[in-house]
Symmetry: C2
Subunit: 542 residues, 2 copies
């Protein structure tokens, strides 16, 4: 029986042999670089030889501190294929997180972009970086730097032969690693086995996943340090499709140019990117005719974005996932029997996080562990399990205790599922407000309040309450021209919410603030607010 | 790390939850039966309860002796999902093979179609069938039969509840079993684990595999006793697509009616079936507009078949696989850069066995174990390995020794690979003629000889030869109106072959016979010829 192990190696082999002339295109500081799969394969094997010469062995971790480009894509296959572990590091994290991550992962070698040398140097700490034996700067030369020993990538691989016999790896071999940039506590390391990455890759190719064919042209705008750019470098290679990497800090003009020049068919990134692109296109015009799909994840895409691209013939496909899930779990394809819905109803479906992909299982459970109805109303916490979902964090038994239950990953997302099976995130588990045995979505309440003309931003948190367990408190930033005193604001918001929601959703307190504090990734930082305000005391004033 | 186990269970769960109204359609003796996925799921769980009540446990084998219908499709999920092993038995095999298979597999329960009771009764042998504790006839009643104890399927599941908690299975759990109906020796059992079937299913969904979307309507004409109907019942469910089962002995009119009435988009079967359909369509006309793809496997589809369907807007997709491979390994999709080829050149590509699918690896090696060039000319034996390729036969160590080499399955197929990566089978390893260190394709030589106007059928085998190791001997059936003596035939064929092939390809002997002996599956039975004729002595006469 058995069946041979599931590893990434056959994907690269197939791409090279079946599609040797297919391209890996990369925008760099020095212009566009084009390699064929034949060249990509050769360079990847040169890199494998260089890594072995540098003493990298089975199970060792190799860190990358890089944007999206061809050299990073070479590391994506060379590092796991020799049996070592590709550890992508988010260069936007605070220095202390970077230190923690490098120390915790014990990276033996670090690839770093020229443009990211500065933040890496700023984060450098001899103790935390003790395991790092070699820095490799992604380029053809090494700028002035304190990091050492250091070499440039082209010298690193240049002296090596392109002959290399990939080892036969066990599918349980470690292949990748990525840390979740949690809003609370230290980042948690998630390790990916060969099998997890193989499974995720196969799923993304299916029409129920992203549906990637050999004549597709894939441009991941989502950074390659964010959960393997949602797996796209692996998927693109497995499909034999064309890679397009937008390089360091692409602006909307760069992205539009790449779409037009390279004929991009599928691209992916967070909503912010696409707002920028849309604005650019509206101002300057653009030929988006090659583009079939924009895959959006990271945070919710508003219906307006979906509509605007739909009007331009581009389908916005919402997807949801987590670092713990390699990352994709749901994709908001429109089901065949919903295609004739009026546009607004279609957009509503497409603005949800989507339909579970084949191979995964999920359940949505309430406080008592009971599964909720699929009615688009009841909500509970989303639990998932599947071949590309991890079952533990790296060296974090206390986090495992909290975030896993049997075979299930507790996602920490509070969701509804509608009759058609579309999952919609309504809150984070730690933010949902538990009032008198019922749950109030802080996100929904925030959106309701932000709909008020005098409100620029608002966030809502649950404050401890003796009788009700928790009650909502709203923090509101009025618009510049709003002329409301704090008391008036309070009454106005309460009345405004009461118009559309049950009484018990109305915030017990409304606090006027100048700005909502934000996390490193731009999300509302409720933790800081909770620390800053004694929320319980706010309620006592009521 | 880890990742949750790969099993079939989530495919059924997803289909039921996301597509409860999608249909499983089945042609039966009593007309068309329609179940929704909701009903299919319920009936599958009823069957699971019935199997447990019948004492079927983890690892037990459950045999099926059935055509393609909804009840068989229910067994496809119920049997593996409870941890037992679905053993599909080919009812067309000789009785002694059926006896051997049932005895070797130790089937504890046998599902049998009403229309197949007779061959099962004929094969019944108390000793070989000693392990069988229960017969279940697929239907609502039990006809007169000697088999016992026996019940009908609807009674078997009817008393059961549709509540059932599927167990959490390890991906290494046995899930399926199928015997290769080898032309030589006893059938060899191939076991499928949950992981093998999961992997194969995911691959079939990809555009590089068969590309199955939720709005597809899939009709497997390939029997469900032939390697899980090429995996289609699993794939269709995983995609959330509509199943159409053509039932017992469908004739071309039945198939065309199902295509028209049910809107079939993808169907699959051996070439013979499609010749029949084509003939029917030419005579009676038909609306094939729903049909996108006919997947053809089992034996080579001639270009004429591909052309005729192409003219009707239906793509014939050639695929190749083996029982040992769950079964698919290559699919002859036209590569994007070949789409503009002239029709004849396209057909030539499409008539090959195809491109390797993602996740598999292969190599083609000559007698010295060296890999041959991908030039469409050099040929060697095809070796494959991958997650859905077995690494051994059931209880057949001597066959394992012969058919596996390290992690590779030696397919026994002699192939060429062209510059574009298309694999083409030119012979079976046991039939290729090894002459003076070079190989002669017996199949190509047969086709060359059959192109002669006076030849109705021909087969070529290698006869032992002291100097050259082997030399070709042709067995020729002249056409009814051919007026050639054996001597003339000999000279004529030699001259005819010499026109197009090198000298050393010319058969050393040409034997006139009345009929080429055939195997149970209709292939030329060279084994019988080798036994019947002292081929070495034929050469001595030269």
């Amino acid at each position: 029986m058995a069946g041979y192990d599931q590893t990434l190696r056959p994907f690269l082999w197939r791409a090279e042999r079946l599609h040797p002339a297919q391209e890996v295109v990369s925008r760099t500081h020095d212009g566009i670089v084009r390699n064929t799969y034949a060249e990509y394969g050769d360079r990847t094997r040169q890199l494998a030889n260089a890594l072995e010469d540098a003493g990298i062995e089975y199970g060792d971790r190799v860190g990358t501190f890089c944007w999206n480009h061809h050299r990073h894509a070479e590391a994506y296959f060379a590092v796991p294929n020799i049996g070592s572990q590709l550890h992508t590091i988010n260069p936007l994290l605070p220095a202390e997180h970077i230190q923690y991550i490098v120390e915790n992962a014990e990276d033996r070698l670090l690839f770093v972009d020229q443009s990211l040398l500065e933040p890496l140097e700023a984060a450098y700490d001899p103790e935390a970086f003790e395991s790092v034996e070699q820095f490799v700067v992604m380029g053809e030369s090494v700028p002035e730097t304190d990091l050492e020993p250091v070499t440039d990538y082209e010298s690193f691989i240049g002296a090596q032969t392109a002959e290399y016999e990939w080892p036969e790896l066990d599918e349980e071999s470690p292949a990748g690693m990525c840390y979740t940039s949690g809003t609370t506590g230290k980042p948690k390391g998630v390790e990916y086995t060969q099998q997890m990455l193989w499974s995720h890759t196969m799923m993304t190719l299916t029409p129920q996943g992203l549906g990637i064919a050999e004549d597709d042209v894939i441009m991941p705008v989502v950074p390659m340090f964010h959960v393997n750019a949602w797996g796209l470098p692996f998927s693109t290679t497995a499909a034999g499709a064309k890679h397009v990497y937008p390089g360091p800090s692409p602006d909307p003009a760069d992205l539009v140019e790449l779409i037009e020049e390279e004929g991009v068919t599928i691209t992916a990134g967070v909503p912010t990117v696409w707002f920028g692109v849309l604005e650019y296109v509206e101002e300057h015009g653009a030929d988006l005719s090659s583009l079939d799909q924009i895959v959006i994840g990271g945070s919710a895409a508003p219906e307006s974005l979906i509509r605007e691209f739909d009007d331009r013939g581009v389908e916005v496909v919402h997807a949801w996932g987590m670092t713990e899930m390699s990352p994709l779990g749901t994709v908001a394809h429109l089901k065949a029997d919903l295609e004739d819905l009026p546009a607004e109803e279609r957009y509503e479906k497409q603005a949800k996080q989507g339909l579970v992909v084949p191979g995964l299982e999920f359940k949505v459970v309430d406080d008592d562990g009971e599964e909720v109805e699929w009615d688009g109303e009841e909500f509970g916490e989303l639990y998932v399990r599947g071949p590309w979902v991890t079952d533990s964090y790296f060296e974090r038994p206390e986090a495992n205790e909290a975030d896993f239950e049997g075979s299930w990953l507790k996602t920490g997302d509070i969701v509804t599922v509608d009759e058609d099976g579309y999952v919609k995130i309504v809150d984070r588990a730690k933010d949902v407000i538990k009032s008198g045995g019922e749950w109030i979505s802080s996100v929904e309440l925030e959106n309701a309040i932000m709909a008020h003309d005098d409100v620029s931003e608002a966030t809502v948190i649950g404050a401890p309450h003796e009788k009700w367990q928790e009650r909502p408190v709203a923090f509101v930033v009025p618009t510049a021209d709003a002329e409301l005193e704090e008391d008036e604001l309070h009454d106005e918001i309460q009345a405004f919410v009461a118009d559309d929601y049950p009484d018990w959703w109305t915030p017990d307190a409304v606090v006027r603030i100048d700005e909502v504090p934000k996390t490193a990734t731009g999300k509302f930082d409720k933790k800081t607010l909770r620390e800053e305000y004694e929320t319980e005391s706010l309620l006592e004033d009521e």
